[in-house]
């Protein structure tokens, strides 16, 4: 089955290459993002090479390549912003070589356009660790990958940013740069509000690295400040209920006045009775 597919694709490719002279080429920027849940998103921005206009509504194939092997991951159309997105690709579906290198190929063609792009990404594992040293809160990362022999080693030069998610967007709290052992650490800020019990989601993220693409790890840690939502005061001038002294004063005044009114009205009633 796989051989048949490969053959078919090879033939297809030959066709594309053959026809390329008459068609407009494409300028493709392909990016790789691995989200915290492990699924992969491939995304590309597509422009034509002549006018540098966005190319819309063109079908693209996403293909995973490893040596001779190829696997079609899926297809998508470019939208009005010239974006082609294939998200939620299970990581297991992607082909890797011995040292965990991955190659992605994006192919798109119709009557007018034709083009393809390749992206090589080294698969790395990012782990986040928390520790307290001399009552200083420290967050550290270990970035590991595989060498040519398939051995797990530390990966150098990984720039990892830390974020905490907020209602609107993620708030950056610092960054580290891994050493030859794939390790680096930083002080964790102590004044970040978390939820009611101080839990905080910490995101460690590598953004658009040429070698590793984008990837992130999310860890929940109770290093945030507990957030207390104070209930509004019940009896303020601006709350629905009036301050007590106001209610009491009002009640006394009104009662005092109306008691006298009633007294007078009773008097008038007695005058009337006397007049009969």
């Amino acid at each position: 089955m796989k051989i048949a597919l490969t053959t078919f694709l090879t033939l297809l490719f030959a066709g594309i290459l053959f026809a390329q002279d008459e068609k407009i080429g494409l300028d493709i920027t392909l990016t790789y993002t691995r989200s915290a849940d492990g699924s992969v998103t491939l995304q590309a921005e597509v422009y034509d090479e002549e006018e540098y206009e966005p190319v819309t509504d063109l079908e693209f194939q996403f293909i995973s390549v490893a040596g001779e092997e190829e696997e079609v991951l899926g297809a998508a159309y470019s939208d009005e912003n010239a974006m082609v997105v294939l998200s939620g690709i299970p990581f297991e579906k992607i082909l890797r070589d011995m040292s965990d290198n991955m190659v992605f190929r994006l192919v798109g063609e119709n009557d007018i356009y034709s083009g393809f792009s390749e992206l090589q990404i080294r698969h790395v594992e990012l782990s986040v660790n928390f520790k307290i040293e001399d009552s200083v809160k420290i967050v550290s990362v270990d970035l590991t990958g595989k060498d040519e022999d398939g051995e797990t080693v530390g990966v150098e030069d990984g720039e990892v940013y830390f974020f905490v998610p907020r209602l609107y967007g993620d708030l950056a709290i610092g960054d580290v740069w891994t050493d030859e052992d794939g390790y680096d650490q930083m002080r964790f800020p102590t004044d970040i509000p978390g939820d009611e019990s101080g839990n905080l989601t910490v995101i460690a993220r590598i953004t658009e690295s040429e070698d590793f693409g984008s990837l992130e790890v999310r860890v929940v840690k109770d290093w945030g400040l507990p957030t207390m939502t104070e209930a509004l005061d019940e009896r303020e001038l601006w709350s629905p209920n009036a301050p007590l002294w106001m209610v009491i004063t009002f009640a006394i005044l009104i009662t005092g006045v109306f008691v006298h009114y009633i007294w007078v009205i009773v008097n008038l009633y007695r005058v009337k009775k006397l007049g009969r």
Binding site: R166, L167, Y168, G169, D170, L171, T227, T229, L232, P240
Partner: protein, 312 residues
């Protein structure tokens, strides 16, 4: 966006129904024979809850509408304290915020909930553009004076108006020192409300003739976790909006620490001495992105003169 709004209004109906049902449960708990059949409803906290079908029938038709409005509009977005920071150094009177606000709230062209003023703090000081929204004060003078509780302060910091209760006495307009509130002097145009069966206090819709309205920080949007339109539309990122509890604000591009922003940029509140405790902070107009004259571009000679005359 519009579609989302509509959907939200529909969602509001479910929220309201839950609340009404809850109230009825409390009122008539003993008289109801439970059917055993449960109905799933969305609570005001966004949780799905189950209610016995028998309770649903209890909601009286006449009061249901008002109850829904009360329950949707007066419940805060849980756990939030909304806050805004306006960077005066970036504003060039582009007025995109005003137009977006008018579109968002279906306002007529001459109606501005959000205004941009030209201010000057001292004789030798430099003039600057000053976007003026509702300050959503924590000690709101407008809410204090409302005789019918039509305008109210929520736990999430917002000051809103229940357009259905407002009697149009305008006392809140007089009490607001920032002249934030506007009045529907003429019968206002309303959007086609089809599909939006239960308009809520949070959408400030429909507009009613002879009642008071104002900037509401788009509570229906923020409930959905979206930024108000004035924030996202501003080309210069003037407005930062966020949750004070989280100590973070966003201007659409960047998310920053609120406390750090206010500390580093010497944030202040307009007319602190009034004691209204606004929820809108301003960053002083320093390190300007644009000369103040950029803001004159789209104004007529007459408008510029009026502004310069009244500039204080």
């Amino acid at each position: 966006m519009e579609k989302e709004r509509r959907n939200f209004i529909k969602k509001g109906a479910a929220i309201g129904a839950t609340g009404a049902a809850g109230l009825m449960t409390w009122m008539a708990a003993e008289d109801v024979n439970e059917t055993g059949e449960k109905v799933k409803l969305l609570s005001t906290n966004g949780e799905i809850i189950e209610v016995d079908k028998a309770y649903l029938k209890m909601a009286s038709v006449e009061n249901a509408e008002q109850m829904r409005r009360d329950l949707i509009g007066r419940e805060p977005v849980p756990g939030r304290k909304f806050i805004m920071v306006v960077d005066l150094g970036r504003c060039r009177n582009a007025k995109k915020c005003i137009i977006a606000c008018q579109k968002m709230h279906y306002l007529a062209e001459d109606k501005e909930w959000l205004k941009v003023k030209l201010l000057k703090d001292s004789d030798a000081g430099a003039p600057y553009w000053f976007p003026k929204l509702c300050m959503h004060c924590d000690n709101p003078p407008c809410v204090k004076v409302c005789p019918v509780a039509a305008t109210f302060k929520r736990e999430d910091g917002l000051v809103l108006i229940d357009n259905d209760k407002c009697i149009g006495c305008k006392f809140c307009m007089v009490a607001c020192p920032y002249s934030t509130r506007v009045f529907n002097w003429e019968d206002p145009e309303n959007p086609d409300m089809e599909g939006a069966e239960f308009p809520s206090t949070e959408t400030s819709l429909p507009h009613y003739h002879n009642t008071v309205e104002k900037c509401d920080f788009c509570p229906d949007m923020v409930r959905m976790g979206k930024l108000p339109d004035c924030v996202t539309v501003c080309p210069n990122g003037v407005f930062y909006f966020g949750d004070e509890n989280e100590d973070a604000v966003t201007n659409g591009d960047e998310t920053v620490r609120l406390s750090a922003l206010l500390k580093d940029r010497a944030g202040y509140r307009y007319m602190e001495e009034l004691g209204t405790k606004p929820r809108v902070y301003y960053l002083p107009p320093v390190n300007r992105m644009f000369p103040v004259e950029r803001g004159y571009r789209d104004l007529s000679e007459e408008e510029i003169n009026v502004m310069k005359d009244q500039m204080k």
